[in-house]
């Protein structure tokens, strides 16, 4: 009993630490990466005893201290309670969402089989993800309204319109994956991606559902509220959109939520389309290459390899998010709406139809 509870707590802590630290690291990557893209030097002012660590001290030590010691400002005619609640509501859904994402296969240790997923054997995995991400609208709407500021409210209204619109295309784009792997459970979807097509090509989601991947990726960028889909923030039009009136620790929470959302989106893309923790040709006991060569590995090494590969893939997609943010110009509001409703939604519907016909024709 106690051991079981301990295992669950350890898994929860592991995932929380992983997500929050990745979010923090992404903050650093974004500042240094954007500097790299724009041919600048980037954050390098803060240092401890002359050690700046490529801006790590700046973003990981100086920035948090600055945020935590700043004045916590609430607009005089704003709503004090909701103004404080909003950042929590923004951070909450992305963190609980990670409960169903598998970060490894089973770990067999001391006669126990531990499923490397916080909430294993939930037969509604994907639906849980959508349910939780549908709650992430509240953070920006409440924050915007509680600020009692026209710019904030405009940002909040635009943001929720954008998020609700893109949720639909997002949900439909995943249906193809569900139809192919015949399950809603994410661990089973990842296992399904372990088989090989024609003996050499891993049956990853992106191979079987390339259109769904493009649609999902686009909608995921839109859901994370980053350029080119930065309607809720819209720096060039709305000051800072829904978090105009936020400072100090509350702003830091919004900031963390944005990066955590990015990490979660990357993790979902990895899980659904890029094999999750699957390493090509790695089976339960070691590598089985297509040529017939076999390389046996100990169980612990395989588990570590899987978790490491999962983190690496997540990191790769986070970097892709950052690359897109600093490369593409932003959309206008009507362009965002037109893209969502008139292009992505019909494409997602067509993808579901084509997949269904394909499955019937193949007669699986």
């Amino acid at each position: 009993m106690i051991v079981e509870i301990g295992i669950v707590v350890a898994k929860v802590l592991l995932v929380l630490i992983m997500v929050l630290n990745l979010a923090g690291i992404m903050g650093w990557v974004e500042r240094k990466g954007s500097a790299l893209i724009q041919d600048r030097i980037g954050a390098n002012r803060a240092s401890i005893l002359g050690f700046a660590g490529l801006g790590l001290i700046n973003t990981m030590v100086a920035d948090p201290i600055k945020f935590l010691t700043k004045e916590d400002f609430v607009p005089p005619r704003g709503d004090r309670v909701l103004h404080t609640l909003a950042p929590c509501l923004a951070l909450f859904p992305t963190l609980v969402l990670f409960a169903v994402i598998p970060f490894g296969d089973v770990l067999e240790i001391g006669g126990r089989t531990i499923n490397l997923q916080v909430a294993p054997n939930i037969n509604i995995g994907i639906l849980y993800i959508f349910a939780m991400s549908s709650l992430s609208v509240y953070g920006i709407v409440i924050g915007a309204w509680a600020s009692n500021n026209k710019f904030s409210l405009l940002g909040g209204v635009r943001g929720s319109a954008q998020m609700i619109s893109y949720e639909i295309a997002m949900g439909l784009s995943v249906m193809g994956i569900v139809m192919i792997y015949e399950t809603l459970e994410l661990q089973e979807i990842v296992r399904g991606q372990g088989s090989l097509l024609w003996g050499w090509l891993p049956a990853w989601g992106v191979v079987l559902q390339p259109v769904a991947f493009l649609l999902f990726f686009t909608t995921a960028v839109a859901e994370s509220k980053r350029i080119p889909f930065d309607q809720p923030e819209a720096e060039s039009e709305l000051v800072a959109g829904f978090h105009t009136e936020y400072s100090g620790a509350k702003f830091l929470m919004f900031f963390t939520a944005e990066f955590a959302e990015m990490v979660t989106a990357a993790a979902i893309i990895t899980t659904l389309f890029f094999g999750g923790w699957q390493v090509p040709y790695l089976m339960r006991d070691g590598f089985h290459f297509p040529g017939g060569a076999i390389l046996l590995l100990p169980h612990l090494a395989i588990v570590l390899l899987q978790v490491g590969v999962f983190v690496f893939k997540v990191f790769f997609f986070c970097w892709l998010f950052i690359l897109i943010r600093w490369t593409l110009p932003r959309f206008r509001y009507d362009q965002v709406m037109r893209l969502g409703w008139k292009m992505l939604l019909p494409l997602a519907l067509a993808n579901v139809m084509v997949t269904a016909i394909w499955i019937i024709v193949l007669g699986t």
Binding site: L82, Y128, S134, V137, V141, W145
Partner: protein, 163 residues
């Protein structure tokens, strides 16, 4: 006391507290948010009753979609506070409460030899697969009719909005 019962009582206390907050608050936005919290806790209760599908749909449809609309209407229209204690509010409110109370009490009365509480459930109860099979095989016609009804309402709303 088993852990399930303990969790139920904790959730129930929070559920009742947030439901009371819905009706006892002045600010309509606060009330709407308390309703979101109540719906969310209800979903967790469904989860403890081995109905994960219902729980997720509850969050997805009610807490995630319908309440966002509610919140929007409240925020954008910004209604002024209703006058205190108008007899129509009190009358209709108490009538609704009385009807609900009768309904709730009748739930606990045994009806013609059926077991009042604790019906047995089969394996895979509440799983999406079972639900989909029943919905799309046995009840496919009502399902389609309901969806056409929703479509008609949707088109009607668009037509009215364009006027």
């Amino acid at each position: 006391m088993s852990i399930e019962l303990l969790i139920f009582f904790i959730l129930a206390v929070f559920l009742i507290a947030s439901s009371l907050l819905v009706i006892f608050q002045r600010n309509p936005v606060h009330s709407a948010l308390a309703l979101v919290a109540a719906l969310f806790i209800m979903a967790v209760l469904f989860l403890t009753q081995e109905a994960p599908m219902v729980a997720v749909l509850q969050i997805f449809v009610y807490a995630g979609a319908i309440m966002v609309l509610f919140l929007f209407v409240i925020m954008l229209l910004n209604p002024s506070m209703p006058e205190k204690g108008h007899w129509i509010w009190w009358g209709s409110g108490s009538l609704g409460a009385a009807l609900l109370a009768v309904e709730l009490i009748s739930l606990f009365l045994p009806v013609h030899g059926t077991k009042p509480l604790g019906a047995e459930v089969g394996e895979n109860f509440g799983s999406p697969k079972l639900l989909a099979e029943i919905l799309f095989k046995e009840f496919v016609l009502p399902f389609e009719i309901a969806s056409i009804l929703l479509l008609v309402a949707l088109i009607g709303a668009v037509v009215l909005a364009k006027r």
